[in-house]
């Protein structure tokens, strides 16, 4: 049947409509000057294909009470790939590590101090995490070559724009610190200053993504916007402590991560609980946190983080347990960011979540 359609030439001198990009006009004959004429399109872009359904058994109609438009989504789900939650994780861990690195730099005494060495390790985690995260961020753009266009404006209303400036502050200062901090004289001094600067940018980098997520129309994150940034910040601290535990093993490291990790993980669990509680104030909104795969991922994140907190607490002098706690903590943080992404998508596609939230605001 389909081959028969292709044999038909509708206009003798026109391109075969079946083979056009969906505009159904001969690009050679038409003046392509419309607003969307340079929209790249391929026939394989079946954007709305996923909403096609098997025929209804009963003729549907719109309910009188609590209506929806045939249960069709009202909002668009995010067009982001998992690159973005991975960036939340990498950037977050890097940011918190930079802050911890700056704090260690503050209390260290001299170049050959063990505390100073740990501070440097933190800076290198920051360098790898922020540059690696930036690559994921750029990769997810529809037009990666235009990444720098984000820096043609300074726009406080856009958390994403603020985030790019934060990243543009954190990564270069971290790199400068990594290269210069052990130099003598003026270069070393510059390294010290950029070290503290990277610590401040790092704190911002660790939590701004929480603002980015909650500053959207997605009902579940809009509803819990006062807690999502706290959750992200805590999760970043937990991830940083976990990564440090995995790459550095001595008593000085443990003395730091024991406190930083415990506070980060406990705060992550607490903020996750608060987020859930606030979202649950409107049942339809809170539902997304419990439903299906995204809900399971959300639950798993808390389980992993709690396990990490427990194992770390009872690790004592066992390196093995510290490593296990480190992997669990990192996995918990990554899992939480992935859960935020997928729960958000599910929430956006549920029209009643938005409707109920707005009716009850």
């Amino acid at each position: 049947m389909s081959t028969k359609v292709q044999e038909i030439t509708r206009y003798p001198d026109s391109v075969d409509p079946v083979k056009t990009d969906g505009r159904d006009v001969d690009r050679g004959l038409a003046d392509l000057i419309g607003e969307a004429s340079h929209q790249n399109a391929e026939p394989k872009d079946q954007h709305i294909q996923e909403i096609a359904e098997a025929p209804w058994r009963n003729v549907p109609s719109v309910a009188r009470e609590d209506p929806t438009y045939f249960d069709r989504p009202m909002l668009k789900k995010s067009v982001w790939s998992p690159d973005i939650p991975i960036y939340y994780f990498l950037g977050g861990a890097a940011g918190a590590a930079l802050t911890l690195g700056a704090a260690l730099q503050l209390v260290s005494r001299g170049h050959y101090d063990r505390v100073r060495q740990l501070s440097e390790a933190c800076h290198w985690i920051g360098i790898v995490g922020s540059t690696g995260g930036a690559l994921f961020l750029i990769h997810d753009l529809g037009r990666p070559s235009r990444f720098l266009y984000m820096m043609r404006v300074f726009r406080p209303t856009s958390p994403m724009n603020m985030g790019v400036w934060i990243l543009a502050g954190a990564a270069p200062t971290a790199i400068t610190t990594g290269l210069l901090i052990n130099r003598r004289g003026i270069w070393g001094r510059i390294g010290e200053v950029t070290g503290y600067a990277s610590g401040v940018f790092g704190a911002a980098l660790a939590g701004y993504t929480g603002v980015l997520v909650s500053n959207t129309a997605i009902p579940v994150w809009q509803q819990s916007r006062r807690w999502v940034p706290v959750m992200f910040m805590a999760s970043s601290a937990a991830a940083a402590a976990s990564v440090i535990d995995l790459i550095s093993a001595d008593e000085v490291t443990r003395s730091v991560t024991r406190v930083f990790g415990a506070v980060g993980r406990a705060a992550e669990i607490a903020a996750t609980y608060k987020t859930e509680q606030v979202a649950a104030a409107i049942p339809k909104v809170g539902e997304a946190l419990h439903r299906g795969g995204p809900g399971a991922l959300w639950r798993l994140a808390t389980v992993l983080t709690a396990a990490s907190l427990g194992v770390s607490f009872f690790a004592g002098k066992s390196r093995k347990k510290v490593v296990v706690a480190g992997w669990l903590g990192a996995a918990g943080s990554l899992c939480l960011r992935l859960a935020v992404h997928y729960v958000g998508n599910a929430s956006a596609l549920d029209p009643k979540a938005s409707f109920h939230q707005q009716r009850n605001a």
């Binding site: 359904e53 929806t68 438009y69 911890l100 505390v115 266009y149 000085v252």
Partner: protein
Amino acid sequence: MSPQSYTDGQLGAVAAQALERRAARDDTANRSGRKGFFTDTTLCIGCKACEVACKQWNQLPDDGLIFTGMSYDNTAALGASTWRHVAFVERPVALSTQDAGAFSWLFSSDVCKHCNRAGCLESCPTGSIVRTEFGSVYVQPDICNGCGYCVVSCPFGVIDRRESDGRAWKCTLCYDRLKGGMEPACAKACPTDSIKFGDMEELLRTARARVDGLREQGMHEAYLYGDDAASQPGTEGLNAFFLLVEKPEAYNLPPDPVVPTRNGQDAWRSFAFAAVGMIATAIGSAMASRKAAR
């Protein structure tokens, strides 16, 4: 100059920047020349001429042919390549002025609302989305880098990113036609004048008179959706507003949309507290290391 050469050239970017600066100035200085749509859904017959006119004028590609199976609405939603969408609402309820038993069919041609306070514009990190001299919200295709933040920032779910294009697209209020002194293609094509285009002041007068007229005829359900900041504070009013006869939800419109950036300070405040908390914890943990290193 064709748009192709305009958008791809470096000169284009510079010119666009200058245009944006001008638009930003106009955004605060000049709201008197606002143009918009008044979509009177009681006049809509569901012919979809607006959809076709929009596709044709703007040379939009298709989104793939699907069968939704739910009604005569096989367009389903607004998207990157669908800038007008006629909703077909089927209700098991009689409309007060119709005599079709316990059933009524409502049509509504949905479009970008060109909010007075626009979520997409405020969230755009590149400054690609601007306010034009007509009060409309316009995505500059030569600036958009496809970050996708506007997609989740629109409380109406209007704007979307096209897969193989990698950029965000939505209704432009036919910016090119307005520049040429013409009305948008959809309004021009509408056979019942359900889609009215004009100066906002004029449209508001028409719309309010129409509601009064309908109520006099006995259609007491008629009301205006998003006509001004008082009726919809979350968006500070829409430049494309509607006359509806059923709850907004039935037409897939949010009952009380709020531009996310309006609540931005809540999240930023929590962020600030959390950042201070983390810095304090970091310094505290670092002190513990001092003890261990001794």
